[in-house]
Symmetry: C2
Subunit: 239 residues, 2 copies
């Protein structure tokens, strides 16, 4: 893990860019004492520098967590094949037209999740070597990656999942095997995530300690107080 730049924010949080082989990442740490770690992944199409993600990560770090994000293979700013670019364009077009997207979704997002999770695990190995990161480890964000991580990576102790309307079939099936505490965020009128599918997914999770927070509005309308609620959720399970 090579740190390539660093910035000290006004509230004392240290924001560092890093590379780990081909994986670019960002790490936010609130100080030098070992703290719990939260892996924060978001929508595969957006880069790790997307302002909403950065604002959420900085705020979360200020609560006393190390927060890390990466652009996993095929995600964010990472190189994409022409076929991936085409699939992404097809998916966007179909969603906007209100056409069925399951087939495109399955063939495109399914492999993306499968390729992303090993990189998140490699990143986790490297992060836990740092003296300023203790444990336990939480996960926050992209639902499909969170499910696959939760069932393959025993170090994940709790997860906050967002926008679970469209999730590849493999992860819908894995949901029953998820037994860690979950906070499941639902935007009631998420234009890209059918509500009933998200409710069905929440129902399917194997864990007993699952809570859903549903708020009004579309995909990007999650109220800011949910970041604080996330802190309280992770506080119960990681601190």
């Amino acid at each position: 893990m090579q740190f390539t730049s660093e910035k000290r924010l006004d509230d004392g949080v240290l924001e560092r860019e890093f590379t780990l082989g081909e994986i670019p990442g960002t790490l936010w740490t609130p100080g030098s004492a070992p703290v719990p770690l939260i892996l924060m992944a978001h929508n595969n199409g957006l880069p790790k520098g997307e302002p909403r993600l950065v604002a959420r990560a900085r705020q979360t770090a200020s609560y006393g967590y190390a927060v890390a994000t990466i652009d996993a293979a095929g995600c964010g700013g990472r190189p994409r094949s022409a076929a991936d670019e085409q699939a992404r364009a097809d998916l966007r077009r179909a969603m906007q037209a209100g056409e069925p997207v399951d087939e495109i979704f399955e063939s495109f997002i399914g492999p993306l999740v499968g390729n992303a999770v090993p990189e998140w695990r490699t990143t986790l190995d490297a992060l836990l070597e740092l003296p300023e990161i203790g444990g336990p480890v939480g996960y926050s964000g992209w639902t499909a990656v969170g499910i696959h991580l939760a069932v393959t990576e025993p170090r994940i102790a709790a997860a906050g999942l967002f926008a679970g309307g469209y999730v590849p079939r493999a992860q819908r099936e894995e949901a029953r095997q998820v037994t860690i505490p979950l906070l499941f965020l639902l935007q009631w009128d998420d234009e890209g995530n059918p509500r009933q599918r998200a409710l069905d997914l929440f129902d399917a999770f194997g864990t007993k300690e699952k809570t859903m927070h549903a708020n009004m509005g579309g995909h990007v309308g999650t109220p800011w107080f949910e970041v604080e609620d996330g802190d309280r959720f992770f506080g119960r399970h990681l601190k």
Copy 2:
């Protein structure tokens, strides 16, 4: 309003029983400085001294709110007619047998809500005369009463509603007129409140600032951290 007894709790909250005409009530206040007020109503069949309600009221008062509850007409420890007793028994038997309950519910709970709300408003008038109660005013608990209060009583600024599966038709229709901020608690497997009806009710509320918190388990299984979450909700809207 006559105070009939008082008790100082360990954390300094003052717990007082009162009567207001025929209405028996309990008031919890955290100190002498004016604070916001929360009206806390719960399931019509249970008395205001029910330990879960009392624990929630005491905790909420310790956060810096005045909290008041009453046994409204026909509720809790108030006298009931033989017909009411019969209706209550019929309702319980039908629910336990998994039979349709809408007809009994409508004829029994509908009038109960209609009779309870004027007594809550009378109580509110009296409470707001007390120097240790300022405002604004929130409501917490029984969904049907909360809806009817929210649309008839302009002093209610925010409401936390619980168990909205069975709600009289009049209140289901009034839900669209509710425009105050709402926190809607749902127990995912509430044996007395069908999940889909609760989801439909949440959808129906006219307010834009509504949040649902869903947790696993039955009617009495709401996790204790929801009391803290309620404090944060009321903190945003009453403080």
